[in-house]
Symmetry: C2
Subunit: 371 residues, 2 copies
């Protein structure tokens, strides 16, 4: 499969991928934010080709409306058969031997926007965000550091532990973040102190969006979980799926650029396949109580650490709670994230001559506000 749009072998966005996103042209911002699909270093503006959707994907109903939204929620709420039909059509219309868009010079000129001219937005209106704790290696490392010998709580192997985070604080890649402040204990039997976080960390993890939700009181059975997870379409390429498992072979990396350095250093290489609890298990467990998920809800896997020391997904684990310094060269060392440091996370699957990737997610830490 090959597109008439040139895609370098290093790109995360070949025709095999086609991730949906929300973008605007730098000048016009959120008012005109709309849905696009990444291919190579371009974005295909889906509004521009809405006439083609009307002809080839009638299931979309009103594609100009669906794709002019500033979030994917309306598209996601249409359900898996529509996601599948849409993606299938996009692969057809973008393929090198299909003339319909390829040879329509005027439409093609309007339809593609270089990624470097676009501003990306959060792809979804995120209702709720649950962060799991699904890597056994990560949970074990944390347990050993924080509680000693009884590393895993007894129920860890019976259910995917998760906590509910604030979706309001989920930001798009490239957003600077202020160091948080709060109370912490300086030691046993001492009163707490207040101030900026001193062990600020990153966590290398992945997440999925709920595409279609469930009614309060009606759990999603694990056999149907896939239908509710946005992006689980089409059926994954065989090479992405480990035999007998639902874990995907997705390379994950975290790199960091200390404030005064010019270059990033890769700190860890992990893989989604190390997860103990799959994302389908997470969704089934999340809803077993009857909890109603909604279109746009986000579920994080939790930090994904692998079995080897160079596959640890957080600074807590990499420096073993501040014991082992990381050397960035030129005398720059780190135990945790300091002000001005930038962290970049990325992930991809390696195919035969191409990558199916997630792009990069970066964030820089600014000093805490002074009261």
């Amino acid at each position: 499969m090959k597109s008439f749009i040139e895609v370098s072998a290093d790109s995360h966005f070949p025709i095999q991928n086609l991730p949906f996103g929300v973008f605007s042209i730098a000048e016009d911002e959120i008012s005109s934010a709309r849905v696009g699909v990444a291919i190579g270093d371009q974005i295909l503006d889906l509004i521009v080709i809405s006439k083609l959707f009307e002809k080839h994907v009638p299931e979309l109903g009103n594609p100009a409306l669906v794709f002019s939204q500033s979030s994917l929620n309306m598209f996601m709420s249409l359900g898996k058969p529509v996601w599948q039909a849409t993606r299938k059509f996009l692969q057809v219309i973008l393929s090198e031997d299909n003339p319909e868009l390829r040879d329509n010079k005027e439409l093609r000129n309007q339809a593609f926007i270089p990624q470097k001219l676009a501003k990306m937005h959060l792809p979804a209106n995120i209702g709720h965000y649950t962060d799991f704790y699904a890597s056994k290696e990560h949970a074990t490392n944390c347990g050993i550091m924080l509680r000693g010998s009884s590393a895993l709580f007894p129920n860890w192997i019976h259910l995917p532990v998760g906590y509910h985070g604030r979706a309001s604080s989920v930001v798009v890649s490239g957003t600077d973040l202020l160091r948080p402040r709060g109370q912490r204990s300086p030691g046993k039997d001492q009163p707490p102190v207040f101030g900026p976080s001193i062990k600020l960390d990153f966590e290398l993890e992945m997440a999925f969006f709920v595409g279609t939700g469930n009614n309060l009181g009606e759990p999603i059975p694990i056999q149907k979980a896939e239908d509710h997870i946005f992006g689980m379409d089409p059926t994954p390429f065989p090479y992405l799926q480990e035999e007998g498992k639902t874990a995907y072979d997705i390379h994950l990396e975290a790199k960091m650029k200390p404030s005064n350095n010019d270059t990033h250093k890769t700190l860890t290489r992990s893989n989604l396949k190390y997860m103990y609890w799959s994302i389908k298990q997470q969704l089934a467990h999340h809803t077993i109580s009857g909890c109603n998920m909604r279109t746009g809800d986000l579920c994080g896997t939790g930090t994904i650490s692998g079995p080897s020391e160079d596959a640890r997904g957080s600074l807590l684990e990499i420096t073993w709670n501040g014991k082992n310094e990381i050397d960035f060269g030129n005398g720059v060392k780190r135990l945790f994230v300091e002000d001005g440091d930038e962290v970049v996370l990325t992930g991809y699957c390696q195919g035969e001559g191409y990558k199916v990737g997630f792009g990069e997610c970066s964030g820089k830490i600014l000093p805490a506000i002074s009261s």
Copy 2:
């Protein structure tokens, strides 16, 4: 202060109260859900009097738009000065000596809808829901039962503990609820078992809506917390405020009707004034890390228990974790909520000859679904 609408002394909704809500006329449902204000046993339909708002409360901008929403979010986002001006005007226009609405027979006929003909909806589009644990008596009771002697965790007296719940499962009063299912431990060193909850409880608590939020990274100082809390206007009547404290003297009650009984039995009488951490402290603490609150976010106080045994706010405490049965008469006894039981919570302040109340919140438990 008295309204031309007759209000019985027992009503929760005299002219001193005027709570905002979202309602529809039973036949036409959510499509026409809109904003109203309760007075006596009536609802004042704010769309109908939008011309009066245009004249008297220009700060509202487009009152017909604001009050035709199916949630209070747009109104809440306008900020405290607008809430105050709106409420002040409503007290003027509803007062017995103001002829403008009183003597306009046609407008008056359209503007009031009997509450018994209306269907109430959730008043807000709730982004996030945080549940605090702000009653020292409740936390102490739970601590003694679940952990023995060290009842309160050391940090409990340093910060208002809270957890983040799923706003998606907040439902309007009168909604039946399925008994949830999940894993539980039958005892130490035994594997967990799966099934319906066996100790299903209620919690007598209150909550507030965030009216206007804050930007990520910019905490709400406690001195300004009141400005962000919807409904904290006008400045509370002096009798509602304890000296030197921000706790309000609000009587709280929970009653329960077992499935086969005809009547409710009051199980507890508590009071908001027993809270250790005030709602302003809750909001200040919630945002001190930089967490961004948004219009419509909901914060619960957590179960409010008082110092006496008859002011315990949950069955866990009332039956002391299932040790002491509650006798409902006719041989009906309960330790926790059983299928078919109905729980009703209510709260009000007692003024001189009138009540300022919150109405009732009820829910009935249906059996868990069979897998």
